[in-house]
Structure formats: C-alpha cells, structure tokens
Point group: C2
Chain length 456, copies 2
C-alpha cells in the first residue's frame, strides 16, 4: 500500500418529486434545491424525478458556476427523470432501460410512462476513472400486496448486471438513487451481493440524519400516511453506494440526510430526504504479492457459505420472477379469452343481422342502434385485447429472459460449490471457475476481490 | 512477449431466417443447420432469427453432444431471435435491448415485434475470459429511401457503447451477427472505430467464400431481386468481429462463407450465407515497459487525424439522428392534429345531436346510424392518435438521448484535439483527456490501446 494518495468526493442524491402541476410547490422546491446545491458544491449530484426538461435546464443554468458538467437521461414517454450534475468533466454516458417497468394502463401510478432506467456517467476524479450510476426503480404502492414485486426484482437483477459488467475498468464506482427497496429486501440484497457495492449509511464513520437513515419519513410535510404503510416513522429506500477497485480503497467519513424540513423554508426540498456522503478515495499501487496472498486466503468455508447464501438469494429471486410469469400468463390468457369472446360476439351479431336481411327480408324493423353500439363494443374489445396481448407477451419474454439468466447463475454457483467441495488445488488459479461467480465483481481481473473477503 | 500461448477458436454466425410458417422450408433448413453444426463442432455458434423457442430447443437437443452450453436471448413480443451455442461453459449472460427498433404499425416489416437487441455471453476459453456478443440490427428495406436509418444508426451507437463499456475486463472480444449495414455504412464505421473491433473478412489470412465476402447474394435461391436492390451480385451485411486485449493478440487464420447452396441439399441453409472464422488467440504477459513504450509513441499527427475523423463520423451520426428527430416530431404533430380533429368532430357531432333534442324537440327524425358510425370513427381516431402520440414521444426521447450522448462525444473529441494541439507534455500520463476518447476502448486501462495504433 505504498504511494497512498487521498481524494475527497462529496456525493449528493435526492428524489426531487418533480411532477409539474401535480407535485406540490415544484417551482419553489427546485429553487430551494438549486440554492442548496450552489452553496454545498458537491462533487457529484445525482437527482431522480427531474421529469421536466425545463426544470433540468433551469437547474443547469443555475448550477453552471459550480457544476459545469451535467447530463439528463432520456427514456420512456416523459423521460427517465434521472440527472447528474458534476464538478468534474463527464466523459461518457450510457443508459440502460429496464426491460420491465409496470403497466401502461396503470396510468395513475405513472411508472411505465417514466421509462425507468439506470444512467451511467464516466468521470475523471483526478487521475482516477469513476463510473457513476444514478437510478430509480419502480415504486412500491402496497407492500402487503405488491403486484410490481417481480418487476422490481427484475430491475434490481438488471441493475446489478449493468453495474457489474460496465464497471470492470473503473477505479471508483458510485451508485445513488431511489431504489424503492428497503435494505433487507430481496432486490437490495441481490444488488449488494452481486456488485460488492457498499452502503454509505452502514459504512459511514459519522452520521447525522433521520433515525435508521430513513429517507421517506412521517415527519416530512409532503408524506401521506399511506406512503409508508405500517412503518410508523419511515423507511429507508434511497441510497448512496460505492466500491473501490484493486487500485483504490474507499471510505465513507460522513453521511447525512435532511430531516423532513429545509432550514429557513416553509416546506422540505422534496417528499424524500436528501442524502449526502463524504467519501474518501485512497489510491495505492496494487502489489501483486499482496493480492496473491489475499487470493490464497484459507478461509474457504466462509466463501462456500457465501456462495450458498447467493444460491438461496437467486433462488428466491427466481421464485418471485416465476410468480410474475404465472401472473403475466394468466393476464395474457384472460386477454386472449376476452378477445375471442369479442370476436364471437361480433360474428353472432353479424349472423343475427344477416338472418332478417337474407331470410326474412326487411319486414321486421332492424335494431340499428343496438347493432352499431354492439359492433363498436366488439371492436373496442378486440383492439384492447390485442394491445394487451402484445404487452403481456413482451412482459413474458422479459420475465422468461430474467429467469433464464437466474437459472444460469444458480447453476454456476452450484458448480462452484461442488468445485470448492471436491477440488481445492485449483482455487487460486486465474480463471478457475471459483473466481467466476458473482462474488467476483464482473469478468475483470483487476477489480476482482476474493470471495473470502468480498465486503472489504 | 514472453510466455506466448496459442489457442484456436472457431466461430460460426448465421441468420437462420427462422420465421415459422413464413420462411421457406424452415424445418428442413433447421435440420440441415443442426447437421452442419454437429459435424463442424465450432467453439462458438452465433445464430440470429431463431424466432421460435421450439426451434431453439430442438437445436439445443441436437447439439447437446458438441455444444453443451447455450442461451436463447428473450425480448420483444416474439423474442430477439438471438441464440448462442458453445463448447465452453457460459458463465454469465446479459441482454441490451435497443431503444429504437422500427414501428409497431409496420407489422409487415416485423422488426418492432422482434425486440432487436445485443446479447452478451461470458465464456472461459482456457484461462481467458471471452465476452461474446451476438446481435441483429433493424433490416434495411429500401436503401434509397431508408426511413429506418436513424433507428439503425442509434442501434449501432448503442451497440458500440454496450460493447465498449462491458468488455473492459475481457481478454477476448468476439461479436457476430447480422448488422444489416454494409462495411462502409455510417453505423459500421461507428462500431469499428469506437470499439476497435476488427473485421474477420478483412483480417483473414485466407478466405474461401463469396466474392467480396458477401453474405446476402443473388445466387441464393431464397433471395428475391428486391432484397439486394441495385447491388447485382449481393451485399456484405453479416460479420464476425474480434479484438484482443493487453494480454492477448488475436489473428484470423481463415474465414469462409457458404456460397448460396448447401452441399448435398436442394436449397441453402438460409437466405443469408453462413460465416465461419478460425481465430488464433495468442496470450502474452504484458510487459509494462513495452506498453509504456507504445504509449509514448511519437505518432501524434496520426492520432489527431484519427480523432478528427471520429469527430466527422459522430457529426454525421448526429445529422442522421436529427433527421430522425424531425421526422418523429412531424409524426407526433400529425398525430396530435389528427387527434384534435377527432375530438373536434366528436364535439361538433354532440352539438348537432343536442340541437334537435334540446331546441327543436324530437319532430325531425334523428339520423341514428350516421351518429353512431361517426362517433365510433371519432373514438377510433382518438384512441389511435393517443397511442401514436405515446409511441412517438418514446421515439423522440430515445433519439434526443442518443443525440445528447453524441454531442457529449463530439465535445470530448474536440477537447482532445485542442488538448493535443496545445499541450503535448501530458499525453502519456494516465488519465489525461487524450486517453479518454473513443479511440481508447472504454474506461479500462488494461485494454486501452493508444490512439496512434488503434487497429493493432
């Protein structure tokens, strides 16, 4: 660990609740947020729910002096709502849209229209490459009967895949955003275990903020009682996560959240609390001997235990996805049947209409009004069910795809467990299957941390 | 370059044209393809247009002895059509769905329903990590008036981003598939320049196949004259691309294509020709001095020239995307206007209906039939235009997103040009802006190759 350099990075994350004309006091709150950011001059600002391009542009203008670099990630019908502001030059950006994101007909929930995604920006922090991710997962509207759970689990799965596969070359990895998942939720566990990202709140040497790091609290004036369900005081669903690499170690020196109010203002910045983490990045020249020494660490039982834990976790995720699959299949079957009934009704109607005309002539008065109304109804049913069929087919494909990937992951992990149980000699060897499991952070060698000490 | 090891990898790629009930002789052709693959036992088989899960599963069964590992990538309504079969264990897979992919109402072109994507599989080739990509881009139906060009350019842009950002940790990178782009097309140039991938056909020491490496040829019995437009003999749109890393060099020893017929069969394997590339991977221990020596290479003019070329290329891509933006905006405006007209018509009709009822009483006979027909028409217009509005908004967001990213890329490249013109001393330093351009293959250090010799 010779040549240690130290670098401080202050990261801010906030779900801005920026739905124009619907969110309360949007304009004033954006002004407050702009003021706060101008004053605090964080290195990296990660915002969610910046739905309006206009609001983004006005923030950009206001922050030009302190955050000259920024990016607004666009997707879906109204945008992803994700934005990043940075003191440091943004060299590259990339957006991954989650394959599942609620239902378009649940317009009052609006998630589908937002095109939820994870945005990535590649920055330079001094001589270090930092991959910064900002994301916002599907909201949880009812924890007891969460019909979006399979979608959110698949989003968490895709998020860990994206971070893992794109961060191989990064010296510093930072992820911030509204995950809409509690710390112990399946999706959070998947994300943390697979990527090796660490939670600022848990890691911070010092913390000043809401109890238990909560970010959606009852004391916030914008929070309705319904949003936090059975949780009296609040929940923790917003995070700043980080990890280093073989070249860097990262520590969280201080973390804070707002506490349901903004100083000198009548109302808070948002319905979510804002998070700030002061990270310290220590650079060192990795010494090969040391790394090899770490790798041949004898604590294999712990590694096997961890792998077994991962098997359980992915199996749990597969179960959730399968629940989603059954649900989507049922919905598609219902759409098919309803469509078939609509078609049958149309044929029946045509037959009834054809009988008096062809057989009995025009003696009886033809019930025109009912005929046209019924025909319109049949057409409406046919069109709606066709659209729903297409939508559910897409949902099914995405769920099946995620399930396939999870099955592959479980297979690999089990292979790994068998391998470590049977043949120990190969364990330290580069490229041995032991190193390819999710405990390793992606396919890279440089970032790979041994399974025995994955949370280092 | 001490400790050089050599490894041979045979890669196969074919667009299978597997549209059940529509493609000709699908069952027989799949049987032929299965036979061929069983006999040839390639290391990696990349297939496109395997639309049916059943066909994939029957291939999987047939190839179980020679290709025990496989994956079918699922997306869209009917699937991505992408499949990979491998001799070597697949450790991980990941799918990136392109944000733009034609129009759902162009059902006869079908691309939208296919959910075009790029699939990635992480394999182990001996001790090396190989990232293998398989993709299929939007088809070109009319080269002169290609309304899908902006979509295909954005797909190529996203493809290069995906490959660049996910391949940082790989020792070997292989991409195969039907790019639906000629070698000199903008999208091909973007992909090759940004990723540093090399074209097997151009690199191969020996080639046996169609003239100019064509993969869609007039001599193929399934090819209609229209598909290849003004190109008399055919076009080259299928590729096997590859690149090594700081640890590996890759060479293509031999490449072949089928020539419009299958030996001992009445018809060819597909409407596309199959590609086979014999790659040789040489592993060496990278010597720091040598890499530093390369990096301080004095050939800066060539690097600046290359960067300037990239600026032109990305600018050209931006122009295409802007054309797409204008088109999408026009279409959305048209949808909005038509919807407004539908609404106006509905109100007018209601007003007309209300007048005799309210003012004149029921003396005049009310034209019920026309009333209901017109109302149904108005509703149909409203629903259709609402759906189109949503669709075009999504298209706009994706195009704007791509344009933003391209603008950022051009800015970075120009900065780089200015940097290299003004301040030369920093050039070799790690993390200097010179190294962050697209000439560098992603944010990784290990894989970074100096701009002066990017095609090495």
């Amino acid at each position: 660990m010779a040549n240690t350099d130290s670098l401080n990075v202050r990261v801010f994350s906030l779900n801005c609740w920026g739905i124009r004309y619907i969110s309360k006091h949007t304009t004033q709150r954006y002004a407050m947020i702009g003021e706060l950011l101008s004053k605090e001059e964080h290195d990296i600002v990660l915002l969610q729910e910046v739905w309006s391009e206009k609001d983004y542009l006005s923030l950009k203008k206001k922050l030009a002096h302190c955050h000259p670099h920024s990016h607004h990630f666009k997707s879906g019908v109204i945008g992803s709502g994700l934005a990043i502001f940075s003191k440091h030059r943004i060299h590259d950006t990339f957006l991954y849209r989650y394959s599942l994101n609620g239902y378009p007909y649940m317009a009052h929930h609006g998630d589908w229209f937002g095109g939820k995604a994870v945005g990535m920006a590649v920055l330079k922090l001094g001589s270090l490459t930092a991959n910064v991710y900002v994301t916002h997962l599907h909201a949880e509207y009812c924890r007891d009967k969460d019909s979006y759970l399979p979608h959110r689990v698949v989003q968490a799965w895709e998020l860990q895949q994206f971070v893992r596969h794109t961060s191989a070359g990064a010296d510093v990895v930072i992820l911030g955003g509204d995950l809409n998942m509690h710390p112990e939720d399946l999706g959070s566990r998947l994300l943390m275990s697979y990527t090796g990202l660490r939670d600022s709140y848990l890691e911070s040497a010092k913390f000043d903020g809401c109890e238990d790091g909560m970010t959606l609290i009852a004391d916030n004036a914008f929070i309705g009682k319904g949003s936090i369900g059975p949780f009296e005081k609040g929940i923790r669903i917003d995070y700043i996560l980080f990890k280093g690499s073989s070249k860097t170690d990262i520590y969280c020196d201080f973390m804070s959240t707002t506490k349901g109010s903004a100083p000198d203002h009548a109302f808070p910045y948002s319905d979510h609390e804002a998070l700030t983490a002061a990270l310290r990045v220590e650079t060192h020249t990795p010494s090969e001997t040391q790394r090899d020494g770490q790798r041949s660490s004898p604590n294999r039982d712990a590694a096997a235990g961890k792998t077994a834990g991962l098997v359980d976790m992915v199996t749990e995720a597969r179960t959730e996805v399968k629940v989603g699959l059954h649900c989507a299949e049922r919905m598609r079957r219902t759409a098919t049947r309803t469509g078939a009934m609509g078609l049958a009704l149309l044929f029946l109607e045509l037959a009834i209409a054809a009988v008096p005309w062809l057989a009995l002539g025009a003696e009886q008065p033809f019930p025109r009004t009912s005929f046209y109304l019924l025909a319109a109804l049949c057409f409406a049913i046919l069109v709606t069910t066709a659209l729903l069929y297409v939508f559910y087919s897409t949902e099914l494909k995405s769920l099946q795809g995620a399930e396939d990937q999870m099955r592959l992951a479980v297979g690999g992990l089990q292979e790994q467990l068998r391998g470590s149980a049977v043949a120990q000699p190969h364990a330290g060897q580069r490229g041995a299957p032991e190193g390819r499991g999710p405990g390793a952070r992606g396919p890279e060698e440089g970032n790979r941390v041994p399974l025995t000490d994955p949370m280092k």
